[in-house]
């Protein structure tokens, strides 16, 4: 009979355990279900030259990085220097997907802050973004030689992310 009185305490301790773990989690982060799935196909006009188009199939056989950005997005502007640094290191082609943006504004930002992208494509109505599960720019995908998404970074790329996550995974995928 004595044991049953301890049950509330035990249940509470378990609860506190979960709450403590929860403090370190971000309840708003939406992990992508597309990891280890093929990058969805699309064909959109390029930013610089609208008569040309871009499609992920163009980069089959290479490890490449897709960065979803926009000129109206404050965090993208903050992330931009990191992208410039990444493009200088030349580890992988960096393709920009300009999300729900005006061509003029986007081009202006690339002029002002530098253009780290091998090329940028324009996703005018956001449909490509939806297919990639984009919910808040900037978001970045690392795609392998077979066209499978292997990593997604939600939010701006920091130096930490670049060194601890992106460079290592690109290196690993290049070996495959």
């Amino acid at each position: 009979m004595k044991a049953k009185f301890v049950i509330p305490l035990i249940l509470f301790v378990v609860l506190v355990g979960f709450l403590a773990v929860g403090l370190n989690r971000d309840p708003r982060e939406v992990p992508s279900p597309l990891i280890n799935k093929p990058a969805p196909a699309f064909k959109v006009p390029q930013l610089a030259d609208p008569s040309k188009s871009f499609s992920p199939a163009d980069l089959k056989g290479q490890v490449w990085v897709l960065n979803v950005w926009a000129s109206w997005c404050v965090a993208c502007r903050e992330e931009h220097p990191m992208l410039v640094e990444m493009s200088k290191s030349q580890v992988a082609p960096l393709i920009g997907l300009d999300y729900k943006d005006k061509r003029a504004d986007a081009m202006e930002m690339l002029v002002r802050q530098g253009n780290p992208y091998n090329l940028s494509a324009l996703d005018n109505d956001g449909r490509v973004g939806i297919n990639y599960g984009v919910y808040g720019v900037p978001e970045t995908y690392v795609i392998d030689k077979a066209g499978i998404i292997r990593f997604k970074q939600i939010g701006p790329i920091t130096k930490d992310v670049l060194e601890k996550s992106i460079y290592p995974i690109i290196a690993q995928l290049n070996k495959e």
């Binding site: 004595k2 403090l23 989690r25």
Partner: protein, 640 residues
């Protein structure tokens, strides 16, 4: 530049209050344990001083808002010189630091009330109760002073403040948090009584008698606070919803469910001496739920429209506080509860059993809400992915659990204590059953659509009302009803009224999204609404576009409605201020949307039958609680 020193007084008062709370918390408890009278008697004066210091602190903060002292960081973040005075005062609790100060202020207030109204209570008990309250206050004051000081200065002072979120610039802000916190904090008294009785080892009917009016009063405030919040969301948010199962809403609903179970359990403990362990456990859980709610809202572990600016560092502190308070209470419970005596016997069929059964369902309901609210966190913590648990889950799970409770509500008051003949009892209720069945079949037919769920809603609500009426008739044959009896009837009928409101609105509301140019008309729920004109308007701190609508039936105009779209100076997001024509049997709700081409507007109109019965039912419940507290047997205490 000269800066006012008044905020520093507020800060200093808090520091002093911390010192006094430590004295209030530690010495009387040790004194009661060791029989040291000179430490026991410190409890009351310490409580009184504590309250006065918190009052000073709170008034200082309010004053800083009133005079627009933007050298106080919290004022600069939540207020603005263009803000109307009443909202400047409401803004005191519009953010984390200020609302926490309100929490502690109310805690010392309740403790003060207990100190003043407990003159006939054994002084060892008083010392323990006030001591426990002092310990809780100590924990919270440490938290505020260490992580959430509302008197932190902003030097140099800002020219003007950032202003209050437009959604909060509403009378709802002025009343909802204080009411709600009065409820949350009020359960600390039942908690303190429970802990005190565990410490003395004396769990008896006297403890229950003392606890009951305090618990009921806290419950009344919580009921009103939740109802106010729901009503506020309904008219303020612009799309007519009144409950969203948002984590913060759930955080207030769980203590309410437990509190309701506690109220009924206390009744049994007081009358028959039974359920002592269970009642004590419920008292601990009710206040634990209040603290848990405080944690959930301020720690950032859950996403919510209500959450304050989150800071994991604060989260850790509150979690530690929560663990200490609740953990030590449950530990004490595990140690001491087995010692309590059993109380009177009762058979399997008795009022005691029915009430205990009701308790079980209420606690299961609260546990289910807790499960649903924390499940996403649970799954994430175990690295099993990320899911959402929203209204579809809660509605699917909560309603079936409450059905038996509503059914029992009508039967319980007929059952006698100790032993009752269930068959004879049900025979008495045949008339109520008939009325309920008739209502369940007729009303949906009259309203135009019959579904099982709506029929069930009317079945249960009329079952409760009819049973209540029969009880009242029987009572008047015997003699004048006690206030306690009136309270019970009001409380139970209040729930039934609530259910009618929910059922009616859920099943029979109409909504239309239309394009209207001046002169156009839309009909909904048998009413016609015609757009007369749309023109600009000016408010104290916003620019608006204001529509004028005629509301009428059968060709005559009955009312005018003026929905607005507001652009506040301080915010870029436009705010919709819906226009509601409220009535006993329906609300007509008009919301102005986006401008369209051709001088037209997007307009949304709602017909919401009996929606005000939702909050009317809550008011009845609160009124019932009031009558119960005012019962004559508690007068003796108040007279002293």
């Amino acid at each position: 530049m000269e800066y006012s020193m008044i905020p520093e007084i507020g800060h200093f008062a808090l520091i002093l209050a911390l010192g006094v709370s430590i004295i209030q918390g530690v010495l009387p408890l040790i004194g009661a344990q060791q029989g040291r009278r000179e430490w026991l008697v410190l409890a009351r004066p310490a409580t009184q001083i504590s309250f006065m210091l918190l009052a000073i602190s709170f008034c200082v903060l309010a004053w800083s808002f009133y005079v627009n002292d933007f050298s106080v960081l919290y004022v600069a973040e939540h207020s603005n010189s263009q803000l109307p005075t009443v909202y400047r005062l409401g803004a005191v609790w519009g953010g984390h630091e200020g609302s926490l100060l309100l929490w502690i202020f109310l805690l010392t207030g309740w403790a003060f009330a207990v100190a003043q109204l407990s003159k006939t209570l054994d002084e060892f008990m008083v010392a323990r109760v006030l001591g426990v309250l002092g310990l809780v206050a100590t924990g919270l004051l440490l938290f505020v002073l260490a992580t959430s000081n509302p008197f932190e200065r902003l030097l140099p002072a800002a020219q003007d403040g950032r202003s209050l979120n437009p959604l909060l610039q509403d009378p709802g802000l002025v009343f909802h948090p204080p009411m709600l916190y009065m409820g949350y904090v009020g359960f600390s008294v039942a908690f303190a009584f429970a802990i005190a009785s565990l410490l003395t080892g004396k769990l008896d009917a006297a403890w229950a008698r003392w606890s009951r009016p305090w618990t009921t009063t806290a419950w009344i405030f919580l009921t009103l606070g939740i109802a106010l919040g729901s009503w506020w969301a309904y008219y303020e948010l612009g799309w007519g919803g009144w409950w969203f199962w948002d984590p913060v809403e759930n955080a207030s609903f769980m203590p309410w469910l437990i509190g309701t179970a506690l109220l009924h359990s206390l009744a049994v403990t007081e009358k028959r001496g039974g359920f002592k362990n269970w009642t004590v456990l419920l008292a601990i859980i009710a206040f634990s739920m209040s603290l848990l709610g405080t944690f959930l809202v301020r720690s950032g572990v859950l996403t919510s429209v209500h959450a304050f600016a989150t800071d994991p560092r604060r989260g850790i502190f509150i979690l530690i506080l929560l663990s200490l308070v609740v953990g030590s209470s449950l530990f004490l419970y595990a140690l001491r509860a087995p010692r309590s005596t059993l109380g009177g016997a009762f058979s399997l069929m008795s009022r005691e059993t029915l009430m205990l059964l009701g308790n079980v369902f209420l606690v299961v309901a609260a546990a289910s809400v807790l499960l649903g609210t924390l499940y996403p966190l649970l799954i994430d913590a175990l690295n099993l992915g990320k899911i959402s648990v929203g209204p579809p889950y809660f509605n699917a799970v909560f309603v079936p659990i409450m059905v038996p409770v509503l059914f029992l509500l009508a039967i319980g008051p007929w059952a006698s204590w100790k032993s009752t003949n269930l068959v004879a009892l049900l025979k008495r209720l045949w008339l109520a059953a008939v009325i309920a069945l008739v209502a369940a079949i007729l009303i949906p037919r009259m309203m135009g659509e019959f579904t099982i769920l709506t029929a069930l809603g009317f079945l249960l609500s009329f079952w409760i009302i009819a049973s209540g009426v029969l009880q009242i008739i029987r009572q008047f044959k015997v003699g004048k009803p006690t206030r306690s009896f009136i309270g019970m009837q009001l409380g139970h009928v209040g729930i039934a009224v609530f259910v009618i409101g929910v059922t009616m609105v859920g099943a029979y509301q109409e909504e239309k999204d239309v394009r209207m140019a001046p002169g156009d008309m839309v009909s909904v729920g048998g009413y016609q609404i015609r757009l007369v004109e749309v023109r600009p308007a000016q408010g104290p701190n916003y620019q608006a576009t204001r529509g004028t609508f005629e509301l009428g039936r059968h060709g005559t105009v009955e009312e005018f409605l003026y929905p607005e779209k507001r652009n506040y100076d301080s915010s870029t997001m436009p705010m919709t201020e819906a226009a509601i024509n409220a009535g006993l049997t329906r609300d007509i709700y008009v919301s102005l949307g986006e401008p369209l081409e051709g001088n037209a507007w997007a307009v949304r109109v709602y017909y919401k039958p009996f929606v005000d019965w939702i909050w009317g039912g809550c008011l009845l419940m609160a009124l019932g609680g009031f009558f119960a507290v005012m019962d004559k047997r508690y007068r003796l205490r108040l007279q002293k």
